[in-house]
C-alpha cells in the first residue's frame, strides 16, 4: 500500500496533487520518469509522471487532471488513504546536459511533467526560459514552482485573464527569433506539442516532447503504447516517453488515444451513477 501524505486541489478541482509514500521509487527516480498507479483491486493501471520526488522523505509527487473514471476515482482518495499499487520508476530519464539557451514549454498538466525537467536543465547550467499556458488564470498550476525552477517564466492564457493573451507558441516564437536557442522541451496536449514541433522545425532547433499513449504494463511487454517515430514503431514506455519532437507522428497518436473513448465514457457514467447513489 502506498499512502497519500499530502493532497492539494488546483485548477478549480480539475487538477489534483498527491504526495505518496514510495521510498524505493523516490530513491531511484530521475526527471522525465513516470509511475503507474492502481487505486484498488479492480482499478486500472494509470501512468503519471513524477512532478517531484523527495528521496529523504521517501515520497513521490504526482499531479493529474481528472479526465475519466480512473482519475475521478483517484480524486476521491484523501490524505491517509492509499493506492494499492505504485510501480516505477518507468521510462527513460531525460538526458540533462549543458547546451546553452533552452526553452521549456508546458500546457495543462504537462506543466507538472515539465517541472523536474526544467529544474534539472537549470541545475545542469543552462539558461532556461519557461513558458506555461492554460485556458484561463484559474486553471494555471504550479506557477511558483516553475518560476523557481527556471530563470525566466512567461505565462499565457487563452482568454487573456493573466499574462500574455494567446498561445504558448506565440511567445516561443518571439524568443526563437532572438536566436541562439539550442533546445526546446515541450510537454502538454498533443496538439500543442505538434504545433511547437512544427515551428521549431522551421527554426531548426532540437525539440524534445513527452508522449502519453495508452499504457498497460509500462515495461515493454504489451505494445499498447506504440508510437511512430521517424517511420519506426517504438514503445513509449521503454523507448520513451521522450522523443525527438520533429519525428513524432502526432496524428496517429491522437487517433490511438481515442481508442477506448466509447468504453471509457460508459465506464465513467457507470461509476458516477454508483458513486452518486451512495
Amino acid at each position: 500500500m502506498f499512502k497519500i501524505v499530502k493532497r492539494e486541489e488546483m485548477s478549480e478541482g480539475t487538477v489534483i496533487l498527491n504526495e505518496i509514500e514510495a521510498p524505493l521509487i523516490a530513491q531511484k527516480a530521475l526527471p522525465g520518469q513516470f509511475v503507474i498507479l492502481k487505486a484498488n483491486e479492480d482499478g486500472e493501471r494509470i501512468p503519471l509522471t513524477m512532478a517531484d520526488t523527495d528521496p529523504e522523505k521517501g515520497t513521490v509527487t504526482i499531479i493529474y487532471m481528472v479526465v475519466g473514471k480512473s482519475t475521478a476515482l483517484f480524486k476521491e482518495l484523501q490524505v491517509g488513504d492509499s493506492f494499492q499499487d505504485v510501480i516505477g520508476p518507468l521510462g527513460k530519464a531525460t538526458h540533462l546536459e549543458k547546451v546553452g539557451k533552452v526553452i521549456c514549454v508546458g500546457g495543462g498538466t504537462g506543466v507538472a511533467v515539465l517541472h523536474p525537467i526544467t529544474r534539472g536543465l537549470k541545475d545542469a547550467g543552462n539558461d532556461v526560459t519557461c513558458i506555461i499556458g492554460a485556458r484561463n488564470k484559474d486553471l494555471l498550476i504550479i506557477e511558483e514552482q516553475m518560476k523557481a525552477a527556471s530563470h525566466d517564466l512567461r505565462v499565457c492564457t487563452d482568454d487573456g485573464s493573466y499574462g500574455h493573451h494567446g498561445f504558448v507558441t506565440e511567445v516561443m516564437k518571439e524568443i526563437l527569433d532572438e536566436g541562439d536557442t539550442k533546445l526546446v522541451v515541450a510537454i502538454g496536449p498533443v496538439p500543442m506539442m505538434k504545433a511547437v514541433s512544427n515551428i521549431t522545425k522551421e527554426y531548426d532547433v532540437e525539440t524534445l516532447v513527452s508522449l502519453n499513449p495508452i499504457m498497460v504494463d509500462g515495461t515493454g511487454m504489451c505494445g499498447g503504447c506504440r508510437v511512430t517515430i521517424g517511420g519506426e514503431t517504438k514503445f513509449a514506455c521503454v523507448d520513451g516517453p521522450e522523443f525527438d519532437g520533429h519525428k513524432v507522428d502526432y496524428d496517429e497518436l491522437m487517433l490511438r488515444l481515442n481508442a477506448y473513448r466509447e468504453e471509457e465514457q460508459k465506464s465513467h457514467d457507470h461509476y458516477c451513477t454508483i458513486r452518486d447513489a451512495k
Binding site: D42, E44, K69, V216, C222, G223, R226, T233, R256, S267
Partner: protein
C-alpha cells in the same frame, strides 16, 4: 497379466466432463469440470503399472507417474499428492496446461493400441482434491541457513525455485514487476483454462511457508541485480519470461483495433476486463475478429474474443493444420466453440478508415512448397490470390521474444544473439557470479513444465552454491 493388459487397452479412457460448447463459448468458467473420485479411480485402474514406465521418460521433470496413479487407485489421496509434489510443485497447473499428448501420454504403452491413460486429468484431480479436501499441511522445512535468495519474476519458473529453496531453509524473496504474482499463469492463460484462484492458492502456499513476495518491483528499474547483492542477497534467480510481443511489421499495424496477444490477454486476464465496467480496465470488443498465429496463445486469444461476444472469430495462419503449434485439444475446443480456421492464408496489410480504425485485412492464399530448414513445407504465395477479410479487431499472436528491460541493465550477464540469457544447461548458472536464470528468458517461449524443470535444476545448483561455493 497379458490378458489383463489387453483388456485395459481396450477399456476406453474416462472422459472428463466438459461444459457444453454452445454455453461455454460465452462464459469464462473452466471448460473441463473435473473428475469425481469414482471416475478418477476408474481411470487410475487403466494404468498397467509398467515396471519401466515409458510415460515417465516423456515427463520433463520425471514425475513418478505409475506411483501416484497407483495411490489414487488405492484411494490414498494424501499419499498421491505428496508423491506428485516430490517432482512437481504445481500439479494443479500442470494437470491443466501441460501438452501431455506429446509428453507422458504420448509415450504411454496403453496408448499404442487404444487411448493412453489420462495422466493429466489424474494429476489435476489429485491437486484439486488436495485443495478442496486436503489438510493444507506444509512440507517440513530444513534448518534455517541464514542465506538470502532473490527470485526475479513470479512465473512458474520463479515459483518453483522459491518453493524448493524455502524448504531447504533459505530465506527467499520474489520480486515481481506486475501487481500480482503468477507470470503467464495470471496474465496470459485465460480463466476458462486455468482459474486464477488456483494460481493464487499456489502462491499463498509458498507464502505460508515463508516466501516473501514483493510485487510492483521491476528489477532493472525499481532495483538492479547489483543492488540486490548490496542488500546482502547471496544468490539471484532470473525467471522473467519472454515478455516482448512480436508484430507482423506489415503496413497499417498501428490502426486502432490491432493489439498484441500480450496486451489483449493481459487486459482480459490480469485486469479482468471481461467484467468491464464492473472493473475499470476496458478491452476492445470485436464484432469480426481476426487472430494471427496458431499457437496456444492464438487459441486463447480467439476463444477469449468469442466469449466477449464476437460474431465471428477467424484464426489466420500461413501454413496448414498439421503445422499449427497449438495443442490439439485447444484447436479442437476452439473449433467446437465456433472459431474458424483460415489456413494457408497470409496477411499482407491492414486496412483502416479515416478515423484510424481497423476495418479489414488484405490476405494472400498460400500453397505448400518444398520443405524449409525446419523440415516443414514452406508456404508459398499464390500469385494474384489477394482477398479481403472484414475485421474490426485483430489480435497478433505470432510469438514473443526476450524483453530487454532487465538484461540491458545487467551488462555483465551474457546474452545470445536473440537476447536470451546464456546459461550452463545443467545448472542454470549465468556468466554473472551468483546469478542463475531459467524458463522462457533462457529458452525463448516454451512451456510451463520446462520453465519449472529449469527452476528445479537451478534451485539444486543454488543450494549447492550456498553450501559449498560457486
Amino acid at each position: 497379466m497379458v490378458e489383463k493388459a489387453a483388456k485395459k487397452t481396450k477399456t476406453p479412457r474416462v472422459a472428463m466432463p466438459e461444459q457444453d460448447p454452445q454455453i461455454r463459448a460465452r462464459n469464462f468458467l473452466e471448460v473441463p469440470t473435473g473428475y469425481t473420485m469414482k471416475m478418477a479411480q476408474e481411470e487410475a485402474s487403466r494404468c498397467l503399472q509398467c515396471r519401466k514406465p515409458s510415460c515417465v521418460a516423456g515427463c520433463p521433470v520425471g514425475v513418478d507417474i505409475p506411483g501416484f496413479i497407483d495411490l489414487i487407485a488405492q484411494g490414498d489421496m494424501t499419499g498421491a499428492i505428496r508423491n506428485l509434489w516430490g517432482k512437481n510443485a504445481l500439479p494443479a497447473v500442470c494437470g491443466r496446461v501441460c501438452p501431455q499428448e506429446s509428453q507422458c501420454e504420448g509415450l504411454c504403452i496403453v496408448g499404442r493400441k487404444g487411448e493412453p491413460v489420462a495422466v493429466g486429468n489424474l494429476e489435476r484431480f489429485c491437486a484439486d482434491y488436495e485443495r478442496e479436501n486436503g489438510t493444507g499441511e506444509l512440507p517440513p522445512r530444513g534448518p534455517l541457513t541464514g542465506k538470502k535468495v532473490a527470485v526475479v519474476g513470479a512465473g512458474p519458473s520463479g515459483l518453483t525455485v522459491a518453493g524448493d529453496l524455502i524448504v531447504k531453509g533459505h530465506d527467499v524473496t520474489i520480486y515481481e514487476a506486475f501487481h500480482k504474482p503468477g507470470g503467464v499463469l495470471v496474465y496470459g492463460i485465460p480463466e476458462f483454462r486455468l482459474p486464477k484462484a488456483i494460481v493464487a492458492q499456489e502462491v499463498n502456499f509458498l507464502e505460508r511457508q515463508g516466501v516473501k513476495v514483493e510485487c510492483n518491483a521491476v528489477v532493472g528499474r525499481t532495483v538492479s541485480i547489483d543492488e540486490l547483492f548490496e542488500q546482502d542477497y547471496d544468490a539471484v534467480y532470473v525467471g522473467v519470461g519472454a515478455g516482448l510481443p512480436r508484430f507482423m511489421n506489415i503496413p497499417g499495424e498501428n490502426y486502432v483495433g490491432i493489439l498484441s496477444a500480450n496486451e489483449y490477454l493481459t487486459r482480459a486476464n490480469l485486469m479482468k476486463a471481461y467484467k468491464y465496467p464492473d472493473v475499470d480496465t476496458p478491452i476492445p470488443i470485436g464484432k469480426n475478429v481476426v487472430v494471427l498465429g496458431a499457437g496456444n496463445v492464438a487459441m486463447d486469444s480467439a476463444r477469449t474474443a468469442m466469449r466477449l461476444g464476437a460474431e465471428s472469430v477467424k484464426i489466420v495462419y500461413r501454413r496448414s493444420r498439421e503445422e499449427m503449434p497449438a495443442r490439439n485439444a485447444e484447436i479442437h475446443h476452439a473449433e467446437e466453440e465456433g472459431i474458424e480456421l483460415f489456413l494457408l492464408t497470409n496477411p499482407t496489410k491492414y486496412i483502416g478508415n479515416e478515423k484510424g480504425r481497423l476495418t479489414g485485412m488484405e490476405c494472400l492464399r498460400m500453397e505448400l512448397g518444398e520443405p524449409d530448414d525446419s523440415g516443414r513445407r514452406r508456404p508459398v504465395a499464390i500469385e494474384g490470390s489477394e482477398f479481403e477479410v472484414d475485421c474490426d479487431l485483430c489480435i497478433v499472436a505470432v510469438g514473443s521474444g526476450a524483453n530487454p528491460l532487465l538484461t540491458s541493465e545487467t551488462p555483465d550477464m551474457e546474452l545470445n544473439r536473440w537476447g536470451n540469457v546464456v546459461t550452463n544447461e545443467a545448472t542454470g548458472k549465468t556468466t554473472k557470479k551468483g546469478v542463475w536464470a531459467g524458463g522462457d528468458i533462457v529458452t525463448g517461449a516454451a512451456t510451463v513444465i520446462l520453465a519449472m524443470g529449469a527452476g528445479r535444476e537451478a534451485a539444486d545448483s543454488i543450494h549447492d552454491y550456498l553450501e559449498l561455493g560457486w
